[in-house]
């Protein structure tokens, strides 16, 4: 099974990590580095405001941008495309278990997400640390925030893989966009203000629009202590959506009818 997983994973990168993704990844890196060097170029560190500069906040915002962008770029059609282009017919005509293929999808998407966060956040941060004299730079703190944000990314991946089990690439993107919009603007923005003390609203939000890891990242950014409660809410949501994707992937038709 290990050899099969390695072979399928290699095939995932051969098939999906195409030139367009390499170009986008390179552009993202360049953009990140340019943004990191802007304060130095603009003479920000000579100003009084430099004393109030919080690197953790900038890093958290950068992750909030790059993670949804990466998910939209990596995951749509990750299952549905392989049904339509007969890839699954090729793989499942062999003695391969579904969980092996699902694992390869998760590993592929997670590694690509890791590359995107390194390209847009960690590399620019290292560049920034060299161009920003006198700015406090706590590696552990930054890595902790990155860890929580990355876990949030894994949650998005599991949701996207679940969506992709029953939606085409287009509707996958659309539903993911609606879900993220509802999550950030409608649920946690507008409705949360009106129904902040409603237990029903609490349950609804935590089950369908989980924010455990995002809250954990914000909490850590503010208080510098491990956000136990938020982290376990995040883990619960990740397990829930991971299980849903596993269940649906076990049940879907992995092949579409051809000619008879």
């Amino acid at each position: 099974m290990k050899t099969q997983l390695q072979a399928i994973l290699k095939a995932e990168f051969t098939r999906y990590f195409t030139l367009s993704k390499i170009i986008i990844l390179s552009l993202v890196t360049i953009l990140g580095v340019v943004i990191a060097m802007l304060p130095s170029w603009l003479g920000f560190f000579d100003s009084e405001a430099a004393g109030f500069f919080a690197i953790k906040d900038i890093f958290t915002y950068a992750l909030k941008i790059i993670i949804p962008f990466s998910i939209f770029f990596i995951t749509p059609g990750i299952i549905a495309n392989d049904v339509n282009n007969f890839w699954f017919r090729t793989v499942f005509s062999r003695p391969v278990q579904r969980q092996t293929v699902l694992a390869s999808k998760y590993i592929y998407a997670s590694l690509l997400l890791l590359l995107f966060t390194i390209a847009f956040c960690l590399i620019p941060l290292i560049v920034f640390s060299f161009t920003a004299p006198g700015i406090e730079f706590n590696v552990f703190s930054v890595l902790s925030i990155w860890f929580f944000a990355y876990m949030e990314g894994l949650l998005f991946i599991s949701i996207a893989i679940w969506f992709s089990c029953f939606l085409s690439k287009f509707f996958n993107v659309l539903l993911l966009a609606i879900w993220m919009f509802a999550d950030n603007i409608v649920i946690n923005g507008v409705l949360a203000n009106f129904f902040w003390d409603s237990p029903i609203m609490g349950v609804f939000t935590e089950f369908f629009f989980p924010n455990g890891f995002a809250n954990a990242a914000s909490f850590y950014s503010l208080k510098d202590s491990f956000p136990v409660e938020h982290f376990f809410w995040g883990m619960a949501a990740l397990t829930f959506f991971g299980a849903l994707s596993y269940l649906h992937f076990s049940l879907i038709n992995i092949d579409r009818p051809g000619n008879d």
């Binding site: 095939a11 051969t14 007969f86 793989v91 003695p95």
Partner: protein, 241 residues
């Protein structure tokens, strides 16, 4: 032990519509090891549905399928089976050779370069080994699928319209290749519309229409040209024999 044992297989598409399509109706068939069996029938007869259910790509509504005694719901039966699809995966970035190596690894033969090279040479595809799958012609792509179905040591090979996109010399090559494999005791089930080829290669012919087995004929007991005659008769009299 039978190579394939199919019992009371039923499959209906569009069950909720006013006009459901019964693709397979109480389908029973047994294939013994070492047999080469041709599956023929008009378009929409249920051939590909039967193959898809046999391979576990689709579920039957009722009935059972076993391959060398292993139920086809158990994925391990595929260790014994090679499969050539009528629809091929195409990729800009995956090369022919890599595709075959992947198939070999998934089949449980990670170090199988020699067999891959031998098969590529036999089907005159050595020069296409480094080409991407999408750059191959339809016929070449079909040959790649054929090669992949014979990779490893399958006891049963299922071919879905293997000659559909092949030119005549390639059809002859395939015919000779199947005859060679037959000598080694391999069981082969293949669907086709090329009646002459089916007659030349098969030990037995299954005629299927409207999801039912209408004819089960040993080619040794039928004279040359029997299949074409029987097919024509079926068109007018709805009786294969």
């Amino acid at each position: 032990m039978k190579a394939i044992e199919i019992s009371k297989l039923n499959k209906t598409f569009n069950k909720k519509s006013k006009m459901p399509t019964r693709a397979l109706i109480d389908f029973d068939v047994e294939i013994i090891p070492g047999e080469v069996v041709g599956l023929i029938g008009p378009n929409g007869a249920g051939k590909t549905t039967l193959i898809r259910i046999l391979m576990g790509f689709d579920n039957a509504d009722s009935g059972s399928v076993s391959v060398f005694g292993i139920d086809n719901q158990d994925y391990r039966f595929k260790q014994l089976v090679g499969f050539q699809s009528d629809n091929q995966y195409r990729s800009k970035t995956m090369k022919t050779y890599d595709f075959l190596v992947l198939n070999s690894i998934l089949a449980g033969f990670p170090n199988n370069d020699e067999q891959i090279h031998t098969l590529l040479e036999y089907f005159k595809l050595s020069q296409a080994a480094d080409k991407s799958l999408v750059s191959l012609s339809k016929g070449m792509r079909q040959k790649v699928e054929l090669i992949s179905s014979f990779i490893g040591k399958p006891k049963l090979v299922v071919l879905d319209e293997p000659t559909a996109a092949l030119d005549p010399p390639s059809v002859f090559e395939l015919r000779d290749f199947i005859s060679e494999q037959k000598k080694s005791g391999m069981t082969i089930l293949f669907s086709s519309h090329h009646l002459t080829e089916v007659e030349k290669v098969s030990d037995r012919i299954l005629f299927i229409d409207s999801g039912e087995l209408k004819g089960n004929v040993l080619t040794s007991e039928a004279g040359p040209g029997f299949i074409e005659e029987a097919f024509r008769r079926y068109e007018s009299e709805r009786s294969f024999l």
